[in-house]
Structure formats: structure tokens, C-alpha cells
């Protein structure tokens, strides 16, 4: 397909009066200077920092691997001791899995998604900045362990009982546990942003069947992050509490089960593989059509494949546990699902091949990386099907065959697409074209040395070489394969360095890229390169899947829509406004206010770092300042701003179908959607804990787990149910409700939540439940979860009360009240479910 004349958004901007245009740019300008650096919350600068930090971590993680390969090059080498080797393989895995791949793809999404979707920023810019800073502090936290000589050394999977205090007494695993929690919270924040962005902040007309494949992949990935990362956070809480001696979830002597960790970890860990792979597949589905000069073959089936992989990935976790002693039939269920996931992957694969086959391929560097991906991922996928078969897995479990398999999947299937994406999108980000000559060297060296490094590992694995050994005896037949792997690994490292050199050369000397150097099809290419901070001053209207190929103009074709969109074309000019559209059809609905700068995301992430460091070394000297700084951060984050006042003065908040309105509260507002994402995360955590409750109880000597005092439990339930009418009172429409009624609702809800906390405390203390057993630990944890939930409700009620006191008629106050009501209702449901589990279900255990 030949790309038509350039139809960028810049020519549309000419339609805007100059003064209005300048005002718009001023309101969207970035803060400058040293202090401004910490105030920046916009997707473009934060996205660049995020990408740079994550890429640096890729280089660091890779360097750790090169050190390991030096150690393993020949038998019985003593460059690294066993303990150092343990630390290196733990930190290599942790860095690559948690600190490079996921953050990098979230960084790319942070930068690119608004451009691809045709919107001005992500829905919660402060959360974007917070995610970045929290991630950075998490990284610094984990890597600071090297300074103290206590780097994590229990593997990136941290299996107990090895990782319990008894066997790992140092702070090594505490650094891992706590640092990872911070980074995971950052990942959840970014996932919430991505979901709401894609569902609600697309260009008008970009209905579900016109969403670019990369955005589809990111949407499914972000949903998977919510459901996969939450169990891991719960699991790391369990592990840390066990390590502190508070609980005994994994301690067999107290009725705990180490295998519980494996279930929780792999419920996260297997989807994690696809969380990394799906965005990579999205990049490939973006790059191949552009360089084949034709649309992707069978868009609908590729979307189906992404969806199917997203679902199926949650049903495969047991294939990491084939050798742990499970019923044969259960293994059969998971083996079947493991085999079947090859089907949607195959559909995508054939779609890519058919696109190239029927297109007119141009062998630019980006396309070469995509082709390299096809080759490497095919090998990784085939060995994946092999290890999905139970008998074969038993033979190669914990051997280098598995190391080879997952590196083909993760480097071949993820890093190669990342490089394809880098070469494809960097001209947009930097405004300069990368060197094709260096790029081709970069590709071919990476491709050749990758296979030199990892293919021999299949053979050494089949010859019986186990994973994670720091040295080996000569004469076992592994020597030559290890030497070849080491040569390949260092060659691969050199090839990556060549890519870095190309990047640096590009930043200094690369030729100007222009708007659309590839003749690509999606909206990011309608903008200047690099795009201005005030992106999409004139919002494009989409009525095709490939707007840059199929549309003659990005202007609305319908006068009615043009009229509706008029207020947001180069506007508003006294506050930042983003367009909200309907989920299915991308019908323009409303405008949301977006903050322009804030130091408080940084402040809050500092608070997190202090609190988590305080937890690590168990000192109030860090915990107390952390809580105070956190309080300041939260208060500053949610305080009303002048630009919000401007927005309220300029636009009406009442919903109407005739024109755009200011979405402040209710389902039209992003805050309402964000609250639902939070509730989803909280529900996932609750159900993870409930699953752990039943798992710990099943077959345990302490079966069923102990029951807390039933009378107080019932009283707590009655109290929680009583709060429902109170919640209804304070969440009523502020226009038609007397202040006294709202205050009564707020006060009663707060009192009843405090009562629930007290009654559940009494329920525990007036029983024999103790955290010295595994059953008791899970009962206390589930009850504690209610305290945390009710505590959050109380904090939100304070915020709603402050609004009701200082600005009783402000719609923002009602928004806080409505969102608080959602969480308060959830708190009631939380206790109802917990009550059934803790107090009633033991009767069914027999």
C-alpha cells in the first residue's frame, strides 16, 4: 500500500488563532531547572526518564550475566565464589524480570500511548510521575544491598524454606522482598494508567476495532499486571512477615507450606512471561505491517490471540511445578492448557508471515529485528511446547535446557522486539534517524551471538548440567558448550554496546527524521519528531484503522462532531484539559482536568522509600519521618489547585449529551474509574489470601484453621451492614441534600468503620488464635486485611469531610464522597466475604 500525502496534525493547527495557540502551549509547558525536574509529571519527559532508567538496568543486568558466563567458561574456575555467584544470578534474574522488561515496556507505553491514541497525556499524570519515582527508589533500594555486601541471593523466585530467616539470616532477602514491593506498586500504578488511557482517552472515532494493535496488547498486558502482580505483592508480604518472625505461612514446623509460595509466585510468574511477551508481540504487529507496506493480515484474529493468551496465561502456572508431587490428573489439566497456548501464538505467527508474504517488505533495521524475533521466538516456542509435556519436563527440569528455553523466549521473544521498537520509534522520540549501517551490524551481531550463546545450553542441559551451579567438574561433556556459550554471551554484550553507540551517535549526529520517516499508519506519526509537550493541540478524528494510510484528513468529517470538539481544539487555555470518550465507540463525552506540575509524587515516593527502609532495619527513626512525609505528600497531591478552579469556572459539570462537560465526578470522571481499578486490585489481593487460607488448611494438622470469637465476628458483620445506609447518606447528590444529612452520613460511616476494626480486634483477642501457627497466621492476616481496608475508608472519609467543611458545594468534594462510597461499600463486602470464610466455612471442613 502506498502511503498518501502527509496528513499530520500540524496543518490542522494552522486553523487555530495564534494567541490561543500560544496560551495552549504555555499551559502545557514543562517546568524547567533543577527544582522543575522534580515537578515534571508529563508523559513525554517521564517516559524518557523511565526508558533510560530501565535500559540502564538492562545493561547492568546483562553485565551481571557476563560475569557469570566468565565464571562458567571452563570447569572449576574460581573467579567468583559460590556466594557471589548466588547473588549475581539472583540479581540478574530480578533485574531483568522486574526492573528492566516490565518497567521498560511501561515506559514505552507512558511515552507512546498518548501519541498512538491521539490524546494529550495519560489520565493521571501525577501517578505517572509517582510510578517512575517509586520504581527508581525501588531499584536504588535493591541495588544498595551490594554496598552492604548483602545482595539478594535466594534466586529471583525466592523459594522458601531457603529464603526463610532460619536458612537466610542476613538482610539479603529483605532487600529483595521490600525493594520489589516498591517496584511492584509502581507497576500497578502504571497499569492503572494504561487501562484507563486506552479505554477512555482515545482520539474520537477510534472505536474498539480501530485501536492500534500495540494499544490492544498494552491494554491486555495492563489488565494482566493487575491480576498477576497483586498476588505477588501479597506473597512478598507473607514472606517478609515470616522472615520477621511475625507469621508462619511457609514454616513446616508450624503447619506452614513452602509450596504455598510456589503457587502464589507462579500465579504471578507465568502470566509475567506473557506480560513481557504481549507488548513485544504488539510491537512486532506494528513494525511488520509498516515495513511490509500493507495492513496486518487478520487484525481481528490477532486481537483474539492476544485476548486468548491473556486468559490462558493464568491457567498455566502449575507447569512450573510439575516436579513438586501433584496428582497426575491435575498435571494433565495444566499440560493441556500449556500445549493449547501454542494455538493463539501460532495464529499471530502465521499472521505475521502472511503479512510479509503478501506485502512488499523493506529490510530496514527495525524489520530485521522483527524477522530475528520470528526465528528465535519460534525456537523458544517449540521448546516451550516440549517442556509443557510432563514427562519431558521431568527430564530437563532445573537443567540448562530450561535456561536455553526461557532465554529464547525472553531475549528472542522480547528483547529483539524491543530493539525493533527502538529502531522504529526512536526517530519519533529523538527527532533523528538512527544509522542503518550501524543498526544492521547491531542486528546481525546480536542475532548470531545470541544463538551462539544460548543454543548450546539446550545441549548442555540435555547432557544433565543443572541450573544455578557456580562451577562444574571437567569431563562431564559440558566443557565445550559452556565455552561456546561464554563466547556468545560476550559477543552479544558487544552487539548491544554497538546499539548503545548507535543511539549516542544518533543523539549527536543523526539526520533529521521528519514527521513520518517510515510512511507509517498510526497517529504518532502525524506529529512532529520529537513531539511537543503540548501534543495534539488539535485533536485528530479517526474513522479508519490506519488513519495515516486511509484518511485524507484528521479533521472531523461530521459537522456535529466538529462542533462538539470545538472547545478542546487548542483549548482550554487556562488549564490542561483532556478529552474523555466512550469505551466502545470513542464517542466524545467530556473533558477532564489534568494537573500540570507537582512535587508531591516525588515527595510521596520518598515517603515510601523511608517507610520501606524503616521496615527493613526495623527502626522508627525512618518509619516515623516516612509516615509524616507521606502525609504531606498525600495532602499536597489532593489539595485543590488554581487550574481546577479555572476549569470549574469555565465549564459546566452536569452531564449532558448535547455538548462536552467537565467530568469531575461519577462514571464520566477518571477518578471513578481509578477507584474501580483500586477495588479490583484489592479484591484480587483478598481472593489470593482466601486461596492461601484454603491451601494452608487442606491436609494440614491444624485443619480447619482456628475460628476467632464468633460473637464479636457477628457483631462486626452487623456493624458493617449498618454502615450501608450511612454510606448512602453522604454520597447523595450535593445539590439536593442538606449539609446535615451528609455530615451525619460521614460521621456514622466513620464511627461504624472504627467499630468494625475494634470488634474484629476483640474477635481475635477473645479467642485462641495466634500467629505462631500457619492457620492462625492466615486468620490474623485476613482480619488485618479488613483493618487495612477500613483504615483506607477512614482516610478517605477524612478527605471527604475536609471538602464538606471547607467547600461544601464543590463538585470535587462530591467526587471524593462518591469514590469514598465505592470503597466503603467494598469494605462492607470485604468483611462479609471474610466472615463467611473465617467463621462459617470451617463448619464445612468436616
Amino acid at each position: 500500500m502506498n502511503a498518501p500525502e502527509m496528513i499530520g496534525v500540524d496543518n490542522l493547527i494552522e486553523k487555530v488563532p495564534e494567541e490561543r495557540s500560544r496560551e495552549f502551549e504555555r499551559i502545557w509547558s514543562q517546568p524547567t531547572g533543577f527544582i522543575g525536574f522534580f515537578h515534571t509529571i508529563d508523559n513525554i519527559p517521564i517516559g524518557v526518564r523511565y526508558m533510560a532508567t530501565a535500559f540502564l538496568l538492562f545493561v547492568v543486568g546483562g553485565f551481571l550475566a557476563l560475569l557469570m558466563r566468565l565464571q562458567l567458561a571452563t570447569p572449576e574456575r574460581q573467579i567468583l565464589g559460590a556466594e557471589t555467584f548466588n547473588q549475581l544470578f539472583t540479581m540478574h534474574g530480578t533485574t531483568m524480570m522486574f526492573l528492566f522488561v516490565i518497567p521498560f515496556i511501561e515506559a514505552v507505553a507512558t511515552y507512546m500511548l498518548p501519541l498512538i491514541l491521539g490524546t494529550r497525556d495519560l489520565p493521571f499524570p501525577r501517578l505517572t510521575a509517582f510510578s517512575y519515582w517509586a520504581y527508581t527508589f525501588g531499584v536504588l533500594f535493591i541495588f544498595s544491598s551490594f554496598l552492604f555486601g548483602v545482595a539478594p541471593d535466594g534466586g529471583w523466585f525466592a523459594y522458601p524454606p531457603l529464603t526463610l530467616k532460619e536458612h537466610s539470616p542476613g538482610l539479603n532477602l529483605d532487600f529483595w522482598d521490600i525493594g520489589l514491593s516498591v517496584a511492584e506498586i509502581a507497576a500497578l500504578g502504571a497499569a492503572a494508567e494504561i487501562i484507563i488511557s486506552i479505554l477512555r482517552m482515545r482520539a474520537p472515532g477510534m472505536s474498539l476495532h480501530r485501536i492500534p494493535i500495540f494499544a490492544w496488547a498494552m491494554l491486555i498486558t495492563a489488565v494482566m499486571i493487575i491480576f498477576a502482580f497483586t498476588p505477588l505483592i501479597v506473597g512478598t508480604f507473607f514472606l517478609e512477615l515470616d522472615r520477621k518472625g511475625v507469621t508462619h505461612f511457609f514454616d513446616p514446623q508450624a503447619g506452614g507450606k513452602p509450596l504455598l509460595w510456589q503457587h502464589i509466585f507462579w500465579v504471578f510468574g507465568h502470566p509475567e512471561v506473557y506480560i513481557m511477551f504481549l507488548p513485544a508481540a504488539g510491537i512486532i504487529s506494528t513494525v511488520i505491517p509498516v515495513f511490509s507496506r500493507r495492513p496486518l493480515v487478520s487484525y481481528a484474529l490477532v486481537v483474539l490471540s492476544l485476548l486468548a493468551i491473556g486468559f490462558l496465561s493464568f491457567g498455566l502456572w502449575v507447569h512450573h511445578m510439575y516436579s513438586t508431587g501433584l496428582p497426575a490428573t491435575a498435571l494433565g489439566f495444566f499440560a493441556a492448557a500449556s500445549m493449547m497456548i501454542a494455538v493463539p501464538n501460532g495464529v499471530q505467527f502465521f499472521s505475521w508471515l502472511a503479512t510479509i508474504w503478501t506485502g512488499n517488505p523493506q529490510w530496514r533495521t527495525s524489520m530485521l529485528f522483527a524477522i530475528g524475533f520470528l526465528f528465535n521466538f519460534l525456537l523458544g516456542g517449540l521448546t516451550g511446547v516440549m517442556v509443557g509435556a510432563v514427562p519431558f519436563d521431568w527430564q530437563v527440569h532445573d537443567s540448562y535446557f530450561v535456561v536455553a528455553h526461557f532465554h529464547y523466549v525472553l531475549i528472542g521473544g522480547v528483547v529483539f522486539p524491543f530493539f525493533a521498537g527502538l529502531y522504529y520509534w526512536l526517530p519519533k522520540i529523538t527527532g533523528r534517524l538512527m544509522s542503518e549501517r550501524l543498526g544492521k551490524w547491531n542486528f546481525w551481531l546480536m542475532f548470531v551471538f545470541f544463538n551462539v550463546a544460548f543454543f548450546p545450553m539446550h545441549i548442555s542441559g540435555l547432557l544433565g548440567m543443572p541450573r544455578r551451579i557456580y562451577t562444574y567438574a571437567p569431563g562431564l561433556g559440558w566443557d565445550v558448550y559452556n565455552l561456546i556459550s561464554t563466547i556468545g554471551a560476550w559477543g552479544f554484550g558487544f552487539a548491544v554496546l554497538l546499539g548503545v553507540i548507535n543511539l549516542l551517535w544518533t543523539l549527536k549526529r543523526g539526520p533529521a527524521a521528519g514527521h513520518d520517516p517510515w510512511g507509517a499508519d498510526s497517529l504518532e506519526w502525524s506529529h512532529a519528531s520529537p513531539p511537543p509537550n503540548a501534543q495534539f493541540k488539535y485533536l485528530p478524528h479517526v474513522h479508519a484503522r490506519h488513519p495515516m494510510w486511509e484518511q485524507e484528513s484528521l479533521e472531523p468529517q461530521d459537522e456535529k462532531i466538529a462542533r462538539i470538539l470545538e472547545p478542546v481544539q487548542a483549548g482550554p487555555t487556562t488549564w490542561r484539559g483532556g478529552l474523555v470518550v466512550s469505551v466502545m465507540d470513542a464517542k466524545p463525552i467530556a473533558v477532564v482536568h489534568m494537573p500540570n506540575r507537582s512535587i508531591f509524587p516525588f515527595v510521596l515516593s520518598v515517603a515510601f522509600a523511608l517507610i520501606f527502609a524503616g521496615l527493613l532495619v526495623e527502626t522508627a527513626w525512618l518509619l516515623v519521618p516516612g509516615v509524616i512525609v507521606g502525609g504531606v505528600g498525600v495532602a499536597g497531591w489532593f489539595r485543590p489547585t488554581k487550574t481546577e478552579d479555572n476549569a470549574l469556572a469555565e465549564m459546566q459539570c452536569e452531564r449532558t449529551d448535547r455538548q462536552l462537560f467537565l467530568a469531575v465526578y461519577g462514571p464520566a470522571s477518571n477518578g471513578w474509574w481509578g477507584t474501580w481499578v483500586f477495588i479490583t486490585i484489592w479484591t484480587t489481593a483478598l481472593f489470593t489470601t482466601i486461596a492461601a487460607y484454603f491451601y494452608l488448611g487442606g491436609g494440614a494438622p491444624e485443619m480447619p484453621p482456628p475460628v476467632p470469637n464468633t460473637l464479636f465476628g457477628i457483631l462486626a458483620l452487623a456493624t458493617a451492614v449498618l454502615s450501608v445506609p450511612a454510606i448512602r447518606l453522604f454520597s447523595r447528590d450535593i445539590a439536593g441534600t442538606a449539609a446535615g444529612v451528609r455530615w451525619t452520613g460521614l460521621g456514622l460511616t466513620a464511627l461504624l468503620n472504627i467499630a468494625v476494626i475494634l470488634l474484629t480486634v476483640l474477635s481475635l483477642t477473645q479467642s485462641s488464635v495466634t500467629t505462631q501457627t500457619a492457620g492462625g497466621s492466615i486468620v490474623v492476616f485476613l482480619t488485618g486485611w479488613q483493618w487495612l481496608t477500613s483504615g483506607i475508608v477512614l482516610a478517605m472519609l477524612i478527605a471527604a469531610a475536609l471538602w464538606a467543611w471547607f467547600r461544601p458545594a464543590d463538585p470535587r468534594g462530591w467526587s471524593v464522597a462518591l469514590n469514598t462510597s465505592l470503597v466503603a461499600y467494598f469494605a462492607v463486602a470485604n468483611w462479609l466475604i471474610t466472615f463467611v470464610i473465617l467463621y462459617l466455612s470451617p463448619a464445612l471442613w468436616g
Binding site: 474498539l208 480501530r210 487478520s298 481481528a300 484474529l301 490462558l312 496428582p327 465507540d585
Partner: protein
């Protein structure tokens, strides 16, 4: 059926949800319920676990087939003017797109439910390996 600014939407949200992710949900339910049934049944020595697993598979295969048919019946015929035009946005409306995805997805997930229904027919139920 509702009206919207960008055209008529003929299917309700529930129809779209059932049609597009009904099959996948049936599979998730099948895996979760089968694993739970097997684990509890083996722990508690329940009689007839094998029969219950087979019944569960038959029931959820039926659900998968029904959601596939449900989605298929909601695809409106559309004409395309070129061999590969179906890949262009002009080829499918948003609702047809969702129902095509749903039909194929239900077929795939029904096959997976069937595949997961096979082990209880041949393998020992509760013996750990």
C-alpha cells in the same frame, strides 16, 4: 439497541460481553472448578469425583458452544470489495469485529475445555506423581 453520536449500536453491553469473552470465561471456570474439585475431592475421599469432572466438562463445553453460537448469530453479513479489504477497518463494524473475535474465541476455548476434559478419563485421579 441504543443510539450514539457515531452511529447505531445494535447490541447491548451484556450481549457484547457474552459474545466476546463468554468462551474464555467458561474455560477459566472449567480449569478453576476442575482443579478445586480434584484437590478437595481427593483430600476428602469424595466418591464420584471422576464423574463430576466429566459432567463439568460436558456442561462447560455446552456453555462454550452456546457462547460461540450466540456470537456467530450476531455477526451481520458485510460485503468487502477486495481480497484483503477485510483487514481494513471498512471491512468490519465494531460490533461485528467483537462478535467475530467472540465466535473464534469460543471455538478455541471449547477445544481447550475438551482437551482438559481428557485427563480424568485415563489418568489415576488422586495419586501424586
Amino acid at each position: 439497541m441504543t443510539e450514539s453520536l457515531l452511529g447505531r449500536t445494535r447490541l447491548s453491553l451484556w450481549e457484547l460481553l457474552i459474545g466476546s469473552i463468554g468462551g474464555a470465561s467458561a474455560w477459566l471456570l472449567h480449569l478453576g472448578a476442575s482443579y478445586l474439585l480434584l484437590t478437595i475431592g481427593c483430600n476428602e475421599n469424595w466418591p464420584g469425583v471422576r464423574l463430576m469432572l466429566i459432567a463439568l466438562t460436558i456442561g462447560l463445553v455446552a456453555v462454550g458452544l452456546w457462547t460461540g453460537l450466540f456470537a456467530y448469530r450476531r455477526i451481520e453479513s458485510t460485503e468487502t470489495d477486495a481480497d484483503w479489504a477485510i483487514t481494513l477497518s471498512s471491512g468490519l463494524s465494531r460490533e461485528n469485529f467483537m462478535m467475530v473475535v467472540g465466535t473464534v474465541s469460543s471455538a478455541v476455548f471449547t477445544i481447550i475445555i475438551l482437551a482438559q476434559g481428557v485427563p480424568p478419563l485415563f489418568l489415576p485421579l488422586c495419586s501424586e506423581v
